[in-house]
Symmetry: C2
Subunit: 674 residues, 2 copies
């Protein structure tokens, strides 16, 4: 009834305000009845300062690259509602998308984007490279992955596993794309379990050559980005068999195409075919038919073979040797985790801007329809994800610094933190993309509006470079190993952020109040309590199974429920601590004020959503009710800052999408006639 | 170390078993080292009986249609690993996919698939139609939607809103595709809020014509499936303005293209463009420029306009009139909910079969690598979703029967149940697709393996024909209305499954045991307890807000947390009750035995995952621990039945995907040369 009255009013207004075409009998003329109003700006803080805190580094170079892409026809600019948007044309076939990706790389190369990516040294060069890759991923994941495979995987393997002879020959050539590299590790039969790969390399001392062979179908290299169309060289990972003894996985350089793009002799290549996303990357499969390569092509920083065929390695233990080969791959997890956060930012910027301009239903008899973001339930859908994205953005910045400043002492921490954050941040991104897509209704399904397409493009992140579940288990195993070793030595904890376990267990007040749950002390305490308790429980359960005669591996596998809870507890705490640090480093009080709301939301919504807090008794039901109420309160407190918080992401309008702006104009008949 | 030893053994075996090519120095020959072994069959029950229980009806006709599709080149058959698979080519452009979809419809039409879809009467005809649509959706969502728009939306509107003159003219013509219909309800500015649409229709008594007009850009019809390319006619939903008074939303038939496909005068049509899925459906936008249609074209079962321009309706109340127009749309929610369950079945059949043939890591020094489904954590990922899919499949069958046997008395129940199940089943499907995609690792991303692509194709389900969140709120509002009315009358509850509230509140034992949690009595009790308690809490909170002066609508909006919990409680209970009924109807003990495990899993994993049980005290932490342990136990109890449980879905091999079968052969070099 209320709506009917409201509609009548609107119709009456039409009839009164507009000329009547009496000849046709039509009682209304064509005029906008529901018009677009831009979101109300109400920033309580300086958006550019917040952006600086969020992006963290290389802001000028980011903006330079954004502009470079937005200016070129190669980046598919389209006019919608008076604004230009750039995004790939995903209605192109796989083959077309691949060629466009290669053309875009050439364009960026010609303009100096990759300058110093292989030959630069020091943490500044690394941070610049990471910043530019983040900007590229905002345009298109295929473009970022194709570049990432060439520089971070192929180039990284040369840098980390190679020695001077390889560096001299390949680093500059890689930087200038004199050749195109790929990275052949995964096989059809073995992905996560790299040690199980079946490619075999032997050595022929007579010719001083290695012979690389694919002994069976399951050993075919699989998912090799760049292999299907463009790559000329690859790093091959293979078992190395010397004098009848398997020395484990090693890496070798092999040419797979000549400069004209013809596949080399004894190499066979097939396409991985169409994928649900990332179709701009030419993933291929490779078979090696006793391919001979010079002895110098072994990447010999970890181990080598002498000209007369003796195996040489400074590292005697095969496990350690394997670990040395894997450690530099951390760069992959770092870039994946950080790019996941940027996609969450993209989708939230779009969905929140839309929710500030789209109305549905009125709740008072004569009132206007209500903005989506003024519905408490819509706030609850988007604002906690916004808070988590802030938290994870700070965690991503921390992870990048940990990576570029890595020392041998920090390798373990880096491995554990990057594993946990890669899993947590990519899962968060997929959840955020899904919620934002649904929050935009049908508009979220239009490819031009980006969010829906991002789901397909980024889905790969939860399983590549380590399946998230496997990574989380590795986190818990590492924590347990640290726990057992520390207890055995009867010494204080001093690694992996477990130092809090040296102190007495924190006490959670029996009656929480709004002011308590907002304090960072309480927030830190309850996250520490959870990690400590779950680690104790996990250790107890594993040793219980071992006491029953189970192997360590079986005991781990049987304790998966606690292992998962513990992995989450570790990453949530690590994220909170980076948030607190970022908050402390914020330049002024207005930033600190809004960040403290956002931090509280991050913690409280975690308490509200994860049943572990109630299950293990860290929260009583009464305290859980206080938390739940506070989440709803925080929604309305953060609501006025929502626009400024997403504007602080620093993503230029052209890289967002039409529904983030005047979507009525973007959908006008006149716009469809361009 | 263990792995290194294991690898050495395998390599040694290669060296011993295979001829050495001494001339090249290669120590191994090409032979399968990791070979495919089909999953071990160990059915403890009759798969065909279970299939009968699951599919429920029209099994022969389903198989007939599966075969019809598998036989035709139009359905894109491809040979992989010695088996033929059918699936659309999603590497085609939107334009190509649309044309293929239309060709497939013609093929099905020519073979009599649609016989009786409009002219048949009775529940048998309706069930046959639903069964065939389910089979079609298993091949491709675009094909099902394009057919669904023509028959269920256009055709349904003619059936339900039209009268004899419309039936005579259109039903047979629709069934034989003499014309192609679409359904123009949604506008750019209004989707969920249909009452807010802005298209205006007036009446000209001089010519006895209606005049349909799009007064502004936000009133353009949007997402109209079929409009962009193929449809010749549409049902237009529009405000009806008679003698200056708005009578609310009514439906009219309008021709939009002539038989040659030319757009009619005063109609403008634009494309909705590329979408993340469903690109075989030509969604379009329509503007009406004072389009004149004969008076007879109003669908007049609810209301009419006399030749001299008087508004006539048997239903005086505008709200009721609006409700009468919306009620028949329930068919959309029914088919969406049911097809969502079939997609969950598809993805579980594929992921579980893969997990029974794919191995990763060994856990004993000399052991083989472990099958994915033998990892407790992998069981925990897939088997609870399998149990939920069984439960929801039974709920889908119940919903279909409720729909085809609908009576005026059941309209409210049908509306509430179909709203809740549409939301629950489509959300479950998206979650299942995502988990199955990740459980298949990279293989889940290959389009040919279906699961990943299904995510994009079915994502639309959570927002079309009613946004899931809005639908769930409607469920809670309906329950509250029933609650308030019943309390006011001081009578027993007798609708919407609330009858259990007439009895005393069930008591949950203070100490649960394994045998208690397996009993259907306990399971029903705790679901009833949750619904009862949440309904009481919701009613109390809404009236508290109203007592503070809030409007009913505002009070609802503020109580969204409880509304969401209550909506879930209602649907979970409804699903459980359909499960128990199906279990009771099962033909033999072996079926009943496995179904009781599956039912327990469905309930216990719900208790484990939804924090509401702990939050509101339905479970103590001790009891929650019992439940959690039992979920892990059930995983290993269901594991031996997993293959038979997915085989019971009755989906022919050709409609699954290569990784569900011999994926080594499917990826062999020889297969890539076809």
């Amino acid at each position: 009834m209320e709506n009917a009255n409201f509609r009548t009013q609107i119709l009456t207004r039409h009839l009164q305000n507009h000329a009547v075409d009496s000849s046709s009998g039509a009682a209304v003329s064509r005029a906008p009845c529901l018009s677009y109003a831009p979101p109300e700006a109400s920033a309580s803080f300086d958006v550019s300062s917040m952006r600086k805190l969020m992006d963290g580094h290389n802001l000028g170079e980011r903006d330079w690259l954004f502009n470079l892409m937005a200016q070129s026809k190669l980046f598919n600019p389209r006019l919608r509602g008076g604004k230009v948007f750039v995004a790939p044309d995903y209605n192109q076939s796989m083959e077309q998308q691949r060629e466009m990706t290669m053309k875009r790389i050439q364009y960026l190369l010609d303009r100096g984007v990759f300058e110093g990516w292989m030959t630069g040294t020091g943490s500044e060069a690394e941070m610049r490279k990471l910043a530019l890759l983040e900007v590229i991923t905002i345009f298109d994941h295929s473009l970022a992955i194709k570049i990432g495979v060439h520089f971070f995987l192929w180039g990284g393997a040369i840098q980390f596993f190679g020695t001077k002879r390889h560096h001299d020959k390949w680093l500059r050539a890689t930087e200038t794309y004199l050749m195109k590299g790929c990275f052949a590790m995964t096989e059809l039969g073995h992905g996560s379990n790299v040690r199980g790969i079946e490619t075999i390399t032997t050595y022929d001392p007579r010719t001083e050559e290695f012979i690389i062979n694919t002994p069976c179908e399951s050993a075919q290299k699989y998912w090799i980005g760049g292999a299907a169309n463009h790559a000329t060289h690859t790093v091959v990972f293979s078992q190395l068999n010397i004098e009848g003894k398997n020395e484990g996985v090693h890496a070798f350089i092999t040419q797979i195409r000549d400069a004209d793009g013809n596949i080399c002799p004894n190499i066979r290549i097939a396409d991985c075919g169409h994928k649900i996303g990332l179709n701009g990357v030419d993933n291929g499969r490779i078979w090696f038919d006793n391919v001979r390569i010079p002895r110098e092509n072994i990447l010999n920083s970890v181990a080598d073979v002498s000209s007369d065929g003796k195996y040489l390695s400074a590292i005697k233990d095969a496990d350690q040797r394997f670990g040395a080969f894997m450690a530099p791959l951390t760069s992959g997890r770092v870039t994946i985790a950080v790019s996941a956060v940027y996609m969450a930012k993209m989708s939230l910027a779009i969905a929140i801007r839309y929710s500030l301009t789209r109305r549905a239903f009125s709740i008072t008899p004569n009132g206007a329809e209500v903005l989506l973001l003024d519905y408490p339930s819509h706030q609850r859908r988007l604002l906690p994800l916004l808070a988590k994205t802030y938290a994870m953005s700070f965690a991503g910045n921390y992870l990048k610094l940990l990576y570029v400043r890595r020392t041998p002492q920090l390798i373990k921490t880096l491995h554990v933190v990057s594993s946990g954050l890669k899993a947590a941040l990519t899962w968060h991104n997929m959840r955020t993309l899904q919620e934002c897509r649904e929050a935009c209704g049908g508009q979220g399904l239009k490819t031009e509006n980006r969010i829906g397409q991002l789901k397909a493009e980024y889905d790969v992140q939860s399983t590549f470079e380590g399946d998230n579940n496997v990574l989380m288990q590795q986190v818990s195993k590492a924590l347990l190993a640290e726990y057992v070793a520390t207890k055995r030595k009867n010494k204080p904890f001093k690694e992996l952020g477990l130092e809090h376990m040296n102190k007495p267990s924190p006490t959670i007040p029996s009656q929480l109040s709004s002011s308590i749950v907002h304090s960072s002390q309480f927030q830190n305490d309850i996250f520490c309590l959870r990690e400590r308790d779950l680690l104790n429980r996990f250790a107890a359960e594993v040793s219980k199974y071992q006491a029953q005669g189970e192997s360590k591996e079986s005991a781990f596998n049987a304790s998966y429920q606690l292992a998962e809870d513990l992995g989450r507890a570790f990453t949530d705490l690590a994220i909170l601590q980076t948030f607190v640090e970022a908050e402390n480093s914020a330049s002024d009080a207005s930033l600190k004020n809004v960040l403290s709301l956002v931090r509280s939301m991050y913690v409280l919504v975690t308490l509200d959503e994860d049943p572990a807090f109630l299950r293990y008794g860290y929260l009583t039901t009464e305290n859980a009710a206080v938390v739940r109420k506070e989440v709803a309160n925080l929604c309305s407190e953060i609501r006025p800052h929502a626009l400024a918080l997403v504007d602080s992401f620093g993503i230029p309008d052209a890289f967002l999408s039409p529904i983030a702006f005047d979507w009525v104009a973007a959908n006008a008949w006149s716009a469809s006639q361009d």
